[in-house]
Symmetry: C2
Subunit: 329 residues, 2 copies
């Protein structure tokens, strides 16, 4: 890996966002020529502070992936595209399904068509989501599990994933899709709670506030620290054995919401928690317990999560304590 | 069934098209108050001659399902919506994925949002497709088969289906999705060959021309005469046991392309056939053999295909012989 990316051109869509910017930091470290493409749509996660420290070692191009003409130009000459641009809020997708469609479907077609006609030899790694499985039929969920998403965001992300697989199979635009589970760590959007519970819980813990846990708090999830996710993107980008394939990521072990909260309170003793009933609109798209089987990517690429929950949360808390003003409002 | 639809308001999107218009004929016969909504997009299958004989017993509203304001008005008061509007050409979807996205995804959201806010008690039956399974992992294909579409049309139809299931589960807008296989019969678009091989073969047979069969002609398919498909829509519309569910349709038995062509030549002895190599663009999205398992809908609704291949093709040939001028150009 240490040589794979040296001097190579790598584009990151959504590169000012949470996972994209962490990936940018790592790629710069590995000596890649990084181009970040980000639309900086308010509230979506793009944050210029996310590239603090590496801003002069990469290029940033503010553009919307929906803009086909822009993409036609930007994809040229790239050897890798890490495709992380997306609308990630489940709740927002239910309120405004059209915008979610534009960003999670039209944008993906626009990027892929740009590659089909202007850079068919590029390698793409797409950020998909475990959300497309919906409520699990069995646990842990492997890639043979039927997809039956429970929200508009899940449906559109599923279509976005399939465009990638299709363009890989039909046009040879090599693409791999990673189905991410709950990811957390430095540089996450924590201004509001609509992009998932984990970043929001971390923020409340750092502030020493009370954390509201829906239901009985026994719901199981698997979490990945962002460093582990970045590693999966780099491994997938470097391999031709994974073209046209989808892979689950997954946590070191399933953990309950209460265990997450307990660990946070242990690290931030001023914080506390309280069980509250599930709000109706959230309950309707809740999926119950979820944890994934990541043995396919482990077998194929040797990936497995390395960061423990406690170490990972500690790292995130430390980062936000130092950089609070750039993430709180 | 004979009383279920009497005096009831039933809207058919794509109602001037092939299956929609056959459904309209049957609903008028059953005494329903039919509203056809169709955009008459050239080359998509809408044909005013399709309602010849019933035009004064129903209402036609020319509108695009993508038009949310129009839909907000049109869905009001409807008791059933048979949702058949769609772009159905696999080849067109590969040439222009954006239009396919607009018609097969945005339109569906627009119709469903209109129902969510203006008619949440309506019952919807959606026309999905076996295309979403892609190349089968096993035969016959049942509803537990993984979906992995091989073209943009299949991906977008899959998303369209899932929006329906989602709105049924989350908002109580009752919806059922039928995964249609190759359908043929009167009132099909046969002006060009881009909407599937079967209508095109029938046209060539009626004209006594030579039919080009790709490959060795041994590919298996299951075919449904449109009367059987119409029956499935009516049964699904009349049942609350199928809300939020998807069902395969399927033919009486798998048949090879050569058997179809032989039957056509038997019925139209002037016609002939010839084996030709697969064109590259078609080969890339071809799915090999396909036939479906329809036991789920048989068990739940008592549906099974009734029309034999020979009777069905005979019926179609007779119809086009009499009405050639309205379908040939």
């Amino acid at each position: 890996m240490s040589n794979e990316y040296r001097g190579k051109k790598a584009m990151i869509t959504g590169g000012l966002g949470f996972i994209g910017s962490n990936l940018a930091h790592r790629l710069v470290e590995l000596g890649a020529e990084v181009l970040i493409v980000d639309s900086l749509i308010p509230d979506h996660g793009g944050n210029l502070f996310n590239i603090e420290g590496i801003a002069d070692q990469l290029r940033v191009n503010i553009a919307d992936v929906r803009d086909r003409n822009g993409m036609d130009y930007l994809v040229r000459g790239q050897e890798y595209i890490f495709n992380l641009a997306g609308q990630v809020s489940h709740m927002d997708s239910m309120r405004d399904p059209y915008t979610d469609l534009e960003i999670n479907c039209r944008s993906q077609l626009s990027l892929l068509e740009a590659c089909r006609y202007n850079n068919p030899t590029v390698k793409i790694v797409y950020a998909s989501t475990r959300q497309i499985y919906g409520t699990p039929d069995y646990l842990p969920v492997d890639e043979r599990h039927l997809v039956h998403p429970t929200d508009v965001n899940g449906i559109n992300k599923m279509a976005g994933e399939w465009y990638h697989i299709l363009y890989s199979n039909v046009y040879g635009v090599r693409a791999t899709s990673l189905r991410l589970t709950n990811t957390y760590g430095p540089r996450q959007l924590v201004k509001h709670s609509r992009q998932g519970f984990i970043g929001w819980f971390i923020r409340l813990a750092v502030d020493g506030e009370e954390i509201s846990v829906y239901g009985d708090g026994k719901q199981l999830r698997d979490l990945n620290h962002v460093d582990d996710v970045v590693e999966a993107f780099l491994l997938a980008g470097a391999s031709n054995a994974v073209n046209g394939e989808v892979f689950n990521l997954g946590g070191t072990r399933p953990v309950s919401l209460l265990e997450i909260v307990d660990t946070l309170i242990d690290l931030c003793p001023e914080a506390s928690y309280r069980l509250v009933p599930f709000p109706e609109d959230k309950k309707r798209i809740d999926i119950g317990d979820y944890y994934g089987d990541y043995s396919k990517i482990e077998t194929t690429l040797g990936w497995k999560p390395q960061v423990s929950l406690r170490d990972g949360l500690g790292d995130a808390i430390e980062f936000y304590r130092q950089n609070k003003e750039h993430y709180w409002e």
